[in-house]
Every structure is written in C-alpha cells, then in structure tokens.
C-alpha cells in the first residue's frame, strides 16, 4: 500500500518537467557547496578572501568587459576579490545552513510531534506549550535575540546560526506531524498493532512516523528555503556568518557600491540566491502536489 503510494508520487513528480529541472538546479548547488568544502576552489587558486587583482594599487572596482578583468567574469569588489568566486563560496554557507536546519528541524519536529500526538496527555500538553510559546514570538525577533546570545558563546559564525535556527525551526513540522499522529492514532492498523501487544514506542517509530513521511519531505524542503532566506538576512544584519562568504554580506557591501553605479555585487548575490530559492520553491510545489495533493 505504502509502496504503491510512493510509486504514484514518484511518477507524478517525474512527469513534471519543471520540477525535474528544479531538482537538477538544486543538485548543482549542492555539488558546488561540496566542492567549496573540499577545497576545490582554493586548489585552483580562487579564494574568496584573497584579492586576485595583480595590480595592488588598484582599489577601484573592476567591471566585466574592462581589459584588466577578463579573468573575473563578474568583476571584483573594492578589495579586489572576485565577485563570482564570493558568490560561489556563499553557496556553501547557504546549503550548509539549509541542510543542517532542515534535517534537525524535521527530525526533532517529527519525533516530538508523533510522540505528543500518539500519547496525548501530559506529554502532549508540554509539547504544545513549547511550540505555541516559540511561535508566539515573531520569528525574526527570536532569531536575532537567539543569535545574539548564542554568539557570545560560540562566536559569531555558522555554529551560532545552526544553534539559533535549530532551536526555532522545528515548530512548524511538529504542529503538522502532531495533527497527523492524532488522526492516525485511531486508524485500524494502529489499533491492530496495539492489540498485538507491540510496545508504544515501537508503534510510534514503526507505524506512526513512516505514515507521516510525506509531510516530513515537504517540510524538509520548506525549512530549507526558510533557513537560506533567514541566513542571508542575519548575515546582512551582522548577526550571522563573519569569516565565510554569504550573499547577505555581499548585499550589505553592495549598498555602498550602488552610489558609484556598481551593480555587479548585488546583482550576483541576488541572481545566485534567486535561482536557488526559485528552484526550491518549484521543487516544493511539485513535491506537495505529488505527496500531499489536498493541502492548501
């Protein structure tokens, strides 16, 4: 039964050409992130920190098309760093933050949600109280306060972002999975498992959670987008990453450059981020369509 549902979802998804293209784009981004991690760009002499402009006294921007900069496809910033390389390095931070946040959020949200929904009672009250409390604080405000406090302990950087995001992003998944678990609790196959004397934790793990996996997939994708967008905003506000390259930092720097009509940095950061988020949005839609067609 479950196998059939999976197969149908797969068929529906793979017929959606846009969705397959979007998935391809996401895969390319993940590969670039992996290359950055493995030091491929450093190895070919492209560091996001090191100025590549040979002419040391040149502090001006190089725009593509000018003779000195034929090797920097998207020009350089004020410090002479290649904008293309910085935009590529930013992918690493974006994908890392998205991956870690989405994984932890879905894992924690599913476990807590399924447990709360299945057992009810005190555990349920506690979990509902926890996510209601977190959700009643505006998320950007909570993220900012969290990254400020976490930053004092872990230093401003990607670890702080992980801590802040993982602490907040699980609530949406948890709410939805809990609702589904309450619905499944009375289903016949769960009642049958109960009658067979299977211990409750096993029922949650083997029967409840696998039957909520369609929601987990959709939410993984949604949290991924949310984390990428939030990382850019926090880095822009100087509460996010510092040493690494981030589209948020690029946009922040680009504000001053606009005054001298230099658009390449903001353009590159916007375009790189736009393509990834767009691909993820299309992918999520298709996923939702294939797995959970009833949802609004």
């Amino acid at each position: 039964m479950r196998g059939l549902r999976k197969y149908r979802a797969y068929r529906k998804f793979s017929r959606d050409k846009m969705a397959v293209v979007a998935l391809g784009v996401i895969v390319v981004y993940v590969l670039v992130a992996a290359l950055v991690r493995l030091g491929f760009f450093e190895a070919v002499g492209a560091s996001h920190e090191r100025p590549i402009v040979a002419d040391k006294q040149a502090v001006a921007y190089y725009t593509p098309g000018s003779t000195q900069s034929w090797q920097h496809w998207l020009g350089t910033d004020r410090q002479g760093r290649s904008i293309l390389v910085r935009a590529l390095y930013s992918i690493n931070v974006a994908i890392s933050v998205g991956m870690v946040t989405a994984l932890v959020a879905v894992l924690v949200g599913t476990l807590l949600g399924a447990t709360a929904g299945y057992f009810g009672g005190r555990i349920d009250d506690l979990v509902v109280w926890l996510y209601s409390t977190i959700e009643s604080i505006p998320y950007l405000l909570l993220l900012m306060v969290l990254s400020y406090s976490a930053g004092l302990y872990f230093g401003k950087g990607i670890i702080t972002i992980y801590v802040a995001f993982c602490a907040t992003f699980w609530t949406g998944v948890c709410r939805v999975i809990r609702g589904e678990a309450i619905r499944l609790r009375d289903a016949e196959f769960v009642q049958a498992a109960k009658a067979l004397g299977i211990p409750a934790p096993l029922i949650v793990l083997r029967h409840i959670i696998p039957n909520t996996s369609h929601l987990a997939f959709v939410y993984f994708s949604l949290e991924f987008i949310g984390a990428i967008k939030s990382e850019v905003i926090l880095s822009f506000l100087n509460l996010g990453v510092q040493k690494e390259a981030s589209w948020g930092i690029m946009i922040e720097q680009a504000r001053a450059e606009l005054a001298v009509d230099f658009y390449w940095q903001i353009g590159a950061a916007t375009a790189f981020m736009f393509l990834l988020v767009l691909a993820f949005n299309i992918f999520t839609d298709a996923l939702q369509d294939a797995l959970d067609p009833k949802s609004v």
Partner: protein, 311 residues
C-alpha cells in the same frame, strides 16, 4: 461566549509565562553583561555597581525574574538602558508609525491577492493563471533585502519619486515617506498570498454548490463574489488574522532601512545596543497580542460560519 473567552485567556497564561522564561533565559542568564557594554570597559567599578543596582541586576536570578514578572503585570516595563526613556513611552510612540505602514500594506496586499487569486482560480490552466502563478513564485524567490536595497536606490534615489529615508510625524506629511515602504511590503506580501488564495479558491470552485449556482444560470461574477467569496471566508480570516498582531510591531527591516521610527526600528536598535528592558517588554507585548489575536480569530470563525461551535 464569555466563558469561552475567559477560558481561552487563561490558556494563554502559561504561554506568556513561557515567553518570559525564554527571553529572560536568553538575555539575563546567557546574554552578556549589559552594564559593561553600556558604560564601557574603562568605567569605574562603583559606576557599574550603581547602574547594576538601579536595574536590579545585582540580585540573584530568581529575584530578577520576579521583578520582571512584576513589571509585566503592572504594565510598567521600566526604563531603557540606552535612552533612559520609559519603555511604555517607547511602545506608545513607536506604534503609530508602524501602523501607518502595516495597516495600508495589509489591506492592499489582501485585496490584491484575493482578486488575483480569484482571477487565477477561475482561469485555471489558462495563460493568465500560469502568468500569475509564475510571477508569484518569482516574487517569493527574491530576498526581502533586495527589494529594500534596490527599491531605495533604483526607485527612490534614481527617479526621485519617493523620499529615500526619514519621517515626519504630521498626519499628512508622513505619507511621502511611507509610499515606498508600503509598496515594497505589498509586493513581497502579494507573492506569498496569491498562491494561498488561489489554492483556497481552486478548492472551493470544485465544490457542488458552485456547480448548482452555474446550473441555475447565475452569471460568473455573481458566483465569484456572492457564493465563493463567502464560503472562502474562513481561510481568508485565518490568513489576515495571523498578520494582525504583527501590525503594531511593523517590519524590523523596512523600518530601519527607511528610517521610520516605528517599533520594528526601535527593536532592531535595542538588539544592537543590548537594551534588555526594551527587548523583553517588546517580546511580551507582541506575544500577548498574538495570543489575543488567536482568540479573536476563533470568535470570527463562529461569526462567519454557523457550523463552527465554540467549545
């Protein structure tokens, strides 16, 4: 209904206590020492001790927490670390500018989104539907920051149509500063909302009462506005009411980058300056509004749909 409201309000109390616990833990327990940050590292120990005593930071944590609860329950949130203003005054003076942006923005966003969502749903699969959906997805995929930075530079600075930065408190004068922030807010909001309302309307349009309405020969506009809109009211109310508590607080990013002295701006500054009393009071007020908003939403459900019973 009175009993229902009272019970819901009581249910909100543990959540509010949770909110105070979170902010208190994050700031008073794990946050840095605001006193040294305020007075500077070269300040004398006596000065530091005096300021610490004034804000009760020399007491044990549990006493600090009870002082915080006491402040909240009397709606006297103490004074700002930075400006020494009473936090209540900050809240009162910031709400106006924030509301001037968020209220028109929410109204416009909702009207435009519902209209586009209906157009899309009624032409499902046709070119206009696809265009609306594609534009909405693309709009959602651009970072909020880019709208602000690009809007400020290309639209306000280059064309000179709008003020770039600033605010005047006069009821008429303020608008010249608000057009662009409102416009940006609406563009961002419509991207998200159109798809939601389209899905609601598509869902509604497959129901049998719509078929009946067409079968008895009603014109399309009548089906759209009289039958469908009324039945789609519940999701619309939910969507709008989620945004209402946050109207007062405005947008952190928009306000600070357009220099509008609303609560969002004050909040961002407070985080920057470690102004703990402001951060704590602010979080508490928004969360209270959020909980109140949830209760009002449920009351509106019952008003909009006779099938809904308040339990």
């Amino acid at each position: 209904m009175g009993a229902y409201v009272i019970r819901r309000l009581l249910q909100g109390v543990p959540i509010l206590i949770g909110v105070t616990l979170i902010t208190f833990t994050l700031l008073n327990v794990f946050g840095g020492d605001p006193v040294v940050a305020r007075l500077g590292k070269s300040s004398t120990l006596e000065d530091q001790a005096a300021l610490r005593a004034e804000y009760g930071l020399d007491k044990p944590l549990w006493q600090q927490y009870f002082r915080y609860l006491q402040e909240i329950s009397t709606f006297d949130f103490g004074r700002s670390f930075v400006t020494r203003e009473s936090v209540r005054d900050i809240l009162a003076s910031g709400a106006g500018p924030s509301l001037s942006i968020t209220m028109p923005a929410l109204l416009l966003t909702t009207l435009i989104s519902i209209t586009l969502g209906m157009i899309s749903a009624f032409n499902r699969g046709k070119a206009i539907d696809r265009a609306i959906v594609v534009l909405a997805v693309m709009g959602m995929s651009v970072s909020f920051l880019v709208y602000i930075v690009a809007g400020q530079y290309f639209v306000a600075f280059k064309t000179g149509w709008f003020q770039i930065y600033g605010y005047e408190s006069g009821l008429v004068e303020r608008w010249q500063y608000l057009y662009l922030p409102i416009l940006i807010q609406v563009i961002v909001g419509v991207g998200y909302d159109v798809r939601f309302y389209r899905a609601v309307m598509v869902d509604e349009s497959t129901k049998l009462y719509i078929v009946t309405a067409y079968a008895k020969g009603l014109p399309r506009w009548k089906v759209m506005f009289k039958h469908m809109l009324k039945n789609a009211l519940i999701p619309i109310i939910t969507r709008v009411m989620i945004a209402v508590p946050f109207l007062v607080t405005g947008s952190l990013l928009i306000e600070s980058f357009f220099g509008i002295p609303g609560l969002g701006h004050r909040m961002l500054a407070a985080i920057d300056e470690q102004d703990y009393p402001v951060i704590k009071a602010f979080t508490f007020v928004i969360s209270s509004l959020f909980i109140a908003g949830n209760i009002v939403t449920d009351l509106l459900y019952a008003a909009a749909d006779p099938r809904v019973r308040l339990r």
